[in-house]
């Protein structure tokens, strides 16, 4: 069934179709309508899910840590300051190996106060041990939630599904909504390996001495290393069920192009258009959309950049003192490569400023025109 729905409604459909047992969330713009949609469905009795009202995002995730330890499928959603407030519990969910799925609607972190799209919130949580998947459109949002539970429950790691504020969250698009039966055949009920059993009480996540702590961290890393393979298997199955799929990255444009443009989220849609325009003019350009930020898809990127001399990467985030976060990750990954293309790190669209086709054009032109970037950070659309 096709429906014209917003990104946030697509999230709600994803949650409903995944037969989530417990939702706990605290409202924050631009995530609010997700929670509204779900809580209304639950209150009206149409959705048999437990909704836990909480007084903060920290509690929202803490409650899910409890629920998930109890062996049920859990969901929460947040944005920006709400995500920052969850920080401690983000670590906890990963450390306790709980397959919680959360949606983060990308929003700038204040001050100055700002509610618009910016990836700084989710990217600044990159070291908490959550798998991070960025979405380009509303269909991908819904589909990614279904896939996220499969991945999370297989590797026992939490997953953050990320979408842009307003550009997706509040914009309507046609979305194919699968039937619950189809989803059931793709996503089986959650069968936890460990769960609380009152008949046999056990101590969970208790103090662990230096004798063992490192081994537990090692296991988390091992689980992360399994993600590419698991995610691909899940995506393949998804494709066979629904006829659609999404890789960790997506390569488009000319093969072995000299200049490549890397983006994530909705900016990828705009860059597809710019690249198409260039190709029509006979330029040797291509593009890469990064969907999976954690674990960072090094291998997939290496395969996709063969022959490239220069890579332009547009970041919608800033790690002050360093630059764009995607650019950092890319440079660090490329260090392992024999042949290292030049990385042009652009920063644009902070706090929801539009990243227009002209700006992207400007970035591509700059990259074509220069052998190497003239500055460490290339500001795009900034009024100096």
């Amino acid at each position: 069934m096709k429906k014209v729905i917003t990104g946030n409604q697509a999230v709600a459909y994803g949650v409903i179709l995944s037969r989530v047992d417990v939702v706990s969330a605290y409202p924050i713009t631009p995530q609010t309508t997700i929670v509204e949609e779900l809580s209304e469905l639950i209150a009206s009795g149409r959705l048999k899910t437990i909704f836990l009202k909480v007084e903060s995002e920290h509690s929202a995730l803490a409650a899910l840590v409890g629920a998930s330890t109890g062996g049920v499928r859990c969901f929460t959603a947040t944005s920006s300051h709400g995500l920052a407030y969850m920080h401690e519990m983000l670590h906890w969910a990963c450390g306790a190996r709980l397959p919680i799925v959360m949606v983060n609607v990308n929003r700038a972190i204040g001050p100055p106060w700002n509610i618009w799209s910016d990836q700084s919130d989710s990217l600044s949580q990159r070291d908490t041990g959550w798998i991070q998947l960025y979405c380009e459109n509303n269909q991908e949002v819904l589909d990614t939630i279904l896939q996220a539970y499969r991945i999370a429950e297989e590797v026992r790691l939490p997953v953050m599904v990320v979408l842009d504020a307003f550009v997706l969250s509040h914009t309507s698009e046609a979305v194919e909504i699968p039937s619950i039966e189809e989803v059931d055949s793709f996503l089986p009920p959650y069968c936890p390996d460990y769960l609380i059993d009152p008949q046999e009480p056990k101590a969970f996540s208790v103090i662990t001495t230096p004798d063992y702590f490192m081994e537990f961290r090692f296991k988390i890393q091992r689980a992360m290393e399994r993600v590419p393979e698991v995610a691909q298997k899940v995506n393949d199955e998804f494709k066979s069920h629904f006829g659609r799929g999404y890789g960790a990255i997506e390569r488009f444009g000319k093969e072995d192009a000299e200049v490549l443009l890397i983006t994530s989220g909705t900016v990828s849609s705009t860059s597809r258009m710019v690249i198409q325009g260039r190709l029509e003019k006979g330029c040797s350009v291509g593009g890469i959309k990064i969907k999976r930020f954690r674990p960072f898809p090094c291998k997939e990127i290496f395969g996709a950049i063969k022959g490239a001399k220069k890579i332009a990467i547009i970041d919608r985030s800033l790690s002050p003192g360093v630059g764009g976060i995607f650019a950092q990750e890319l440079r660090s990954a490329l260090y392992l490569q024999e042949e290292k293309p030049q990385v042009f790190g652009f920063i644009s669209g902070l706090g929801g400023r539009d990243i227009t086709p002209n700006l992207i054009e400007e970035a591509v032109q700059y990259t074509v025109d220069h052998d190497r970037p003239q500055e460490e950070i290339l500001w795009l659309g900034l009024e100096k």
């Binding site: 450390g95 306790a96 190996r97 026992r156 390996d193 460990y194 009152p198 046999e200 009480p201 056990k202 101590a203 969970f204 996540s205 208790v206 662990t208 063992y212 081994e215 537990f216 090692f218 296991k219």
Partner: protein, 580 residues
């Protein structure tokens, strides 16, 4: 601690940091420094009930839609729920903790609902088939006498009630007008007592004064002859024609006897009798003006009665004191003085002081004096001690004469139906103790909450029932986070126009839905109603719910955080320091 398990490598370790074996051995309750425990406490309504009704429990029964259970509970303590639901001055409501939040629970309305529900279902108390040999005589069939008879019958005594009047009920019969208490309701609750096996002998004149020896067949006697003598005003003209006494007037009205009345009637007094008289006068188609020597604030009649009287056209003149009644051809000139309020007197009310030369006169055709009642002493047996207008008794109702007890209005200045019921119940306990050779003072002390008035006979008959806690729950001990404001249910009233000349009941019984809503407003102060807050909030899962829905704390694992104590909305959980 010794290391019992040692992993050699990551591959041997579980995926998450979880204990390998059960942690059942780790009784974390050992960390506790304070101990929560379930402790029912006494709600202020119960503590304030002179009739000893277990109010909180019967309201809980209503909330569970167990109206019959509620009725049985009340009947354990009080034979007159339908009557109390109509005429009691409900001191319980003035102590209700909900008054600090919005409005007190309409307890009287709930009691009436329960009683009328039981009547509509034809519910009866169980007849006492097994009777002991001892016989008890009760003199007077008012609320004190009948309450005593009721409880003694339930204690398996052979009870005979002697009533000089032709019908039983005492002040309930002839003192309260039918528009407040219909005679059917009175008859119904009296029949219930007779059904227990109590013999009521009406129209019986015993010797005057009573000779105890005449009742030699009886092992104990309870005298509850009330206070029916209307006090006079000691003013010139009060013995004249057309001047009546309040209670005499009400008696005639209640017996449907004709009373010769003019058009304009002055009623003197400010108590319930005065208001009852004035409202009766209005129903007879005449004009009534109440003259009261203090102001509205001091008026002892119930607020609601006054409001209804005014609705019905009764006039009230405050700060007016009659000093003389002049007779003149059937018409009377009532000479009065205007008053003002001076210093407080021993009753705590401001004393009315005459304003010099403020004399004025009212033209009326009848004067009805309702300035209080006193006991009649001529029929009392010799040897009863009296002081300040009442018969003196011990706390248990015993008099100076062996085997003779007294109660009700005869022995107290707190002359309410509820106090009379309580006093009759106390005498029943005292008589049982007397005949069983027990210490009644001691027994009664154990049944009281503090100094009373609440006294439970249920706990006398069933000593294994939990005793009433002397801890009376204060508003501050409740957790208002769990309550929302809700309007107090009002009993429907007959419209003023429809009250007419008949003495039909003015107030109607609450409907079931309204009663249920009202019962659900109750905080259940100090009484667990299984709201499950403790169970939900306990972070250690240490609240155990038994089969019989009685909660218990699992002290093996309770760490004494006190959250259950804090989150209990009604103060039914206590916390004490753990003994070391």
């Amino acid at each position: 601690m010794t290391k019992q398990i040692a992993f050699k490598s990551a591959s041997e370790m579980p995926e998450i940091a979880v204990s390998v074996g059960s942690m059942d051995w780790n009784k974390t309750g050992a960390w506790r420094t304070q101990r929560p425990f379930y402790e029912d406490k006494t709600p202020p309504c119960n503590a304030a009930c002179p009739a000893g009704n277990d109010i909180v429990s019967f309201i809980q029964k209503i909330a569970q839609e167990d109206y019959e259970g509620a009725w049985h509970l009340i009947k354990e303590e009080n034979p007159f729920p339908a009557i109390c639901g109509r005429v009691c001055f409900h001191p319980c409501e003035s102590k209700c903790n909900r008054r600090f939040f919005d409005e007190p629970i309409a307890i009287h309305a709930l009691e009436r609902f329960v009683a009328d529900f039981a009547a509509s279902q034809n519910k009866k108390v169980e007849r006492m088939t097994e009777k002991g040999r001892e016989k008890i005589a009760i003199i007077g069939s008012g609320p004190a006498g009948m309450s005593c008879a009721f409880h003694l019958a339930k204690l398996h005594y052979q009870v005979t009630v002697f009533e000089s009047f032709s019908l039983a009920g005492g002040v309930l019969r002839f003192g309260i007008p039918s528009y407040r208490l219909s005679k059917d309701v009175l008859d119904r609750e009296l029949w219930d007592i007779e059904a227990l096996g109590v013999e009521i002998r009406t129209g019986i004149s015993l010797s005057n004064p009573l000779r105890i020896g005449d009742l030699g067949d009886y092992q104990a006697i309870f005298i509850a002859t009330g206070a029916h003598q209307s006090k006079g005003l000691s003013i010139p003209g009060e013995k004249g024609r057309g001047v009546y006494r309040g209670l005499d007037f009400l008696k005639k009205i209640n017996l449907k006897e004709r009373v010769k009345l003019g058009e304009k009637i002055a009623v003197i007094g400010g108590g319930n009798t005065a208001v009852d008289v004035a409202r009766s006068v209005v129903r007879l188609g005449k004009k009534a003006t109440i003259l009261y020597r203090r102001s509205k604030e001091e008026m002892p009649a119930f607020e609601e009665e006054i409001t209804e009287a005014l609705e019905e056209g009764v006039k009230i003149s405050y700060l007016v004191n009659p000093i003389r009644i002049h007779q003149k051809d059937g018409l009377k000139r009532l000479e009065c003085l205007r008053m003002e309020l001076g210093e407080k007197d021993e009753s705590g009310r401001r004393r009315p002081v005459p304003i010099p030369n403020s004399n004025f006169s009212l033209e009326v055709e009848n004067v009805i004096i309702a300035a209080g009642e006193e006991i009649e002493i001529s029929h009392l047996p010799k040897g009863l001690e009296r002081r300040e207008g009442i018969v003196l008794t011990q706390r248990d109702g015993s008099t100076g004469i062996k085997g003779v007890f007294a109660g009700g209005d005869l022995t107290s200045n707190q002359r309410t139906v509820a106090h009379a019921i309580g006093s009759g119940k106390k005498a029943a306990i005292a008589i049982d103790c007397y005949l069983r050779g027990r210490d009644s003072e001691d027994a009664i002390r154990q049944l009281l909450v503090g100094e009373g008035p609440f006294l439970s006979i249920l706990r006398y008959i069933h000593p294994d029932e939990r005793p009433m806690n002397s801890h009376i729950v204060a508003f501050e001990e409740l957790n208002m986070d769990y309550f929302e404001p809700a309007k107090r249910e009002k009993e429907p009233k007959r419209r003023v126009k429809e009250r007419g000349k008949e003495f039909k009941e003015v107030t109607f019984t609450l409907g079931e839905d309204a009663a249920l809503e009202e019962a659900k407003r109750c905080f259940n102060c100090g009484t667990c109603n299984e709201c499950e807050n403790c169970y939900v909030f306990c972070p250690d899962g240490s609240i155990l719910k038994g089969e019989a829905l009685v909660h218990q704390v699992d002290y093996d694992f309770c760490k004494g955080c006190g959250i259950c104590f804090t989150e209990c909305p009604r103060g039914a959980i206590s916390l004490r320091e753990e003994g070391r």
